[in-house]
């Protein structure tokens, strides 16, 4: 028989450990067929997992040179960007990766919602997925501060002020979160530890559990929960294909394309580093990352004490989706139009809030007319004579150019 390294290692292990049952279990689960309705949208989860691995890899590389202290953080990021060979590319890939992952996570979530993938018996898989979304947003929130530039510092000041408005526990929560009364060195230390230790541990555990549950239950069929789920042979007879190798090949192709897109973004549009954080100088137009804009804008319309509780409430409602809001046995999207319509409307409201958050306090030209958007996102037409003047608040961000 021809010698093969994998077979050799396997034989070596088998002589020493009772591994056959493990291999059998793995084989059985990995070759479980996927139903015929599984299309390219079902590769989003694998792409997400691959990009999370890229984030871990680039994150570890960044940790080599990053120094998590108020005195050194900014300089160390400058060092990574300007001096470390390919440091700019690693930082750029990590930065872009954080955005792409949120986009993919939301698309993956939308796909599961449309195909009713959260229904019995996969409620726990769904719950773990929602927890993973919270972890991903937590990565974004804590990672935002780490460059320790003006945008990072003041963005975090704004974001950490909101929880203080919760009655009784609010001020204490904020103090615990930032390690004092102001965002300072202890905040950076805390956010760093959460970003590089606690959240990665949570992520790895949850991703492991998520994958285990997915393989255990297999891909959700389109039939109702009141009917028995088709077995492997039935799926194969209806035109399904084994997960390994058929669907894995599809996943791999999608992963290649996603990594290609990520590398293109990282190469062509690397992120800027602003001025070093200065607690005494508040820059204009500070806004959070795009995925926190809906929550940021909501706080302008409703009392802070209410607004601050809405984002966690949305996550809880998502968790409860299969138990409270979509309890019918149907999985097929055409038979769940009412639920999908309601969820679509909720997503549209969140998207609209995000758009208003993006437009607020800026000047924009739409269809040849210039508008000043006020703090609530309401447009005010600017007369032609005033167009040359300053907008209500100049937008400053890491991407803003302009030589002094």
């Amino acid at each position: 028989m021809k010698w093969h390294p994998i077979t050799a290692v396997r034989e070596w292990l088998e002589v020493r450990f009772e591994l056959e049952p493990v291999f059998r279990l793995l084989r059985e689960n990995l070759t479980k067929p996927v139903p015929p309705h599984v299309n390219w949208l079902f590769t989003l989860g694998s792409v997400l997992a691959a990009l999370l691995a890229v984030q871990l890899f680039t994150g570890v590389l960044l940790m080599i040179s990053y120094k998590p202290s108020g005195q050194e953080a900014f300089q160390s990021v400058q060092h990574i960007t300007y001096d470390v060979p390919l440091g700019w590319l690693i930082r750029s890939a990590h930065n872009w990766g954080s955005h792409v992952i949120v986009v993919l996570a939301l698309l993956h979530l939308a796909r599961v919602v449309v195909y009713g993938g959260y229904k019995k018996p996969r409620e726990l898989t769904w719950g773990v997925g929602v927890a993973l979304l919270a972890v991903i947003l937590g990565f974004g929130f804590t990672g935002y501060l780490l460059p320790w530039d003006q945008v990072a510092y003041w963005g975090t000041v704004v974001a950490t002020e909101a929880p203080a408005s919760i009655p009784v526990v609010g001020p204490l929560t904020r103090e615990f979160m930032i390690g004092g009364t102001e965002v300072a060195d202890p905040t950076l230390g805390r956010f760093y530890v959460v970003h590089v230790i606690l959240l990665p541990l949570a992520l790895l555990s949850l991703v492991g559990l998520h994958l285990l549950l997915i393989r255990y239950h297999g891909i959700s069929p389109l039939s109702g929960t009141d009917q028995p789920e088709p077995g492997s042979e039935e799926i194969l007879r209806r035109g399904g294909r084994p997960f390994l190798p058929h669907h894995v090949l599809k996943d791999s192709a999608a992963i290649y394309v996603a990594i290609g897109a990520l590398m293109s973004l990282a190469l062509l549009a690397p992120p800027h580093l602003g001025e070093m954080a200065d607690p005494l100088v508040t820059p204009l137009g500070i806004k959070p990352e795009w995925y926190f804009l809906p929550a940021y804008q909501l706080l302008k319309y409703v009392p802070e004490v209410v607004g601050v509780q809405v984002p966690p409430l949305v996550l809880v409602l998502l968790l409860l989706l299969p138990f409270l809001f979509d309890r019918s046995p149907h999985r097929h999207p055409r038979r769940r139009l009412r639920v999908l319509g309601a969820l679509g409307a909720a997503a549209a409201v969140i998207g609209l809030l995000g758009l208003l958050g993006h437009l607020s306090d800026t000047r924009q030209t739409l269809l040849g007319k210039t508008y000043d958007f006020d703090v609530l996102g309401r447009p005010h037409l600017v007369e032609a004579a005033e167009v040359g003047g300053d907008p209500p608040q100049a937008e400053e961000g890491r991407g803003a150019g302009g030589s002094p």
């Binding site: 960007t81 090949l249 192709a253 290609g260 800027h272 150019g401």
Partner: protein
Amino acid sequence: MIGRSACVSACAGANRSRGRWVGWLALLALLALMAATGLTAQGDGASPVDIDEVMCALCHFEQGDEFVTSIHYQKGLLLCDDCHGGDPFAVQLETAKAPETGFIGKPRREDIAAICGRCHTGPARFFAQGPHRDWENDDNPTCITCHHNHRVFDATLALMEESCVRCHVSDSEPASGGVAIRSRLEGSAAHLARVAMDLDRLRVIDPKLDRVVPMLKAARSTLREADPITHALNLELIEETLEAVGSELAVVEERLVESVQDRQRRRWAVLGVWLFVAVNVFFLWAKRRQLD
């Protein structure tokens, strides 16, 4: 229980009312602080004093009208007393022009350079080295000949050309010298503006250029150093400074060229990435076809 709750609510009412007073007092204190800051900031180039409050302008209204258009007034830098002495806010003539206020009235011709030189030390120093250094002599200009006495505008290069031909024939040697200095300075300023524009454009896609910004700032301040030297009306003296600007800009331009080349390399890298992706996806697709 009722009495106790009434007491609690009365106390809460009293507290609220006290809280309101504290709020109003805090607001008043804030307004007072803002007003005080505004007043103290006047001398530091902040908002100018209302010209109607300046008593001198009541009689010297023509000078007052000219002064309000000046950069000295608009930036809140000077008032009448800074050059003429006296007290511009005194209502009584005797008090306004009292000797103890340092009132000098119209400065003598020979004192003008010293008065301007109190703030504009650089220009005064270089003016004293130039061909017009004997300003006591009526044939030579003083600061106000070119810059005006009350209607002082922000100095521009155009002022140089306008001023030279007031006394010199336009194709004479001194006037041509002025034109040469002006065009040399304009050339450097245009060069700097061009480089700044290129830097702005390229910085959007290359954050490494953020580090070049201080270099451009340095070149800009070196160019600013040439401003006072122009008062010596000596091209050779200015040349030295402008050459320094040129070499500082050359370093910036070198970095810009590197950035353009780097951008091209990155484009090739993106192409390489997609070729790699295409080849691998093709093989995966072929394998999948084979399996089907």
